[in-house]
Amino acid sequence: MKKLILASIGFFMIHSSFAQKRYFTKTGTVSFRAGTAVEDIDGINKSTTSVFDATSGQMEFALLVKGFEFNSALMMEHFNENYMESDKYPKSVFKGTITNIDKLNFQKDGVYPVTVKGILEIHGVKKEVETTGSFKVSGETITSTAEFSVTLDDYKISIPGLVKDKISKTAKIKVNCSYAILK
């Protein structure tokens, strides 16, 4: 009996260690475009941290708002001080799930469409977002891409009237990550 219990515990442990296969990156890229025909406004963050669980599909992203790089000093200043208030809200976080994780085969190389749903926190405001993207499996590396839009107003980012025609009401966000297995 004891042996049986031990064996089942052992089996359970092996099973759960498989279940907790996680992929991880610290060098994810998040970029956004919020410009209009009048002016390009682009920012890029190259040190985004992200992790996802290959079984449950749980997924998280975190980035430092001050880590966005711009082509213009003034844009960087306005982004941090006026719009994102990065001293007050230094981080942006997404917590959600890959809803079709069961359709992905991490043992088989290929490109898989994914749907991700969760809560995105920007500028201290949490809001639900849903987007589609893709996972490219090649061996132990997963390359992900996704693109979606957010409405600045939803996140209480207010644009002064003077520059209304220069800044888009929505920002297009692109996410690119290259994940490795977390050991």
């Binding site: 610290k26 060098t27 890229t29 040190s47 430092l64 880590g67 003034l74 960087m76 230094p90 290259s178």
Partner: protein
Amino acid sequence: MKKLKKILLGMLITAIAGTGYGFYLFNKKPADVRKLTANYELTAATIVAEFNADETAANARYLDKVISTKGIVADVKVDTTGQATVFLDSGDPMAMVTCSFYSEEAVSAKNLQKGTEVTIKGKCTGKLMDVVLNKCSITQ
């Protein structure tokens, strides 16, 4: 009449200077961190320890500042777009120093060997899991 001319000329000069200054600001590039003198020189272990001890205080001291950090190369990652990131060991297994490089500096980052000591200069953007520096270059 002469006075009026002077005033008008004065206004014109101010307007031109103002427009010029506005144009200058509008086109100004963010500072090249490679050309800036470091505000702080410390080891990877020290900066991680300071962020671990009191993140608010460390943010107040280091955010947006140019930091020169000395540490042992734990890992180098170069992605498909050529973007290079160097991780410095801090002695803390849960937190390193992430150094995201200028794309022009990626080549020098690629040549770094794991386990060697290096000094990297960059701008501190805060702490996620690691303390993050961006716009990095190797100084030594």
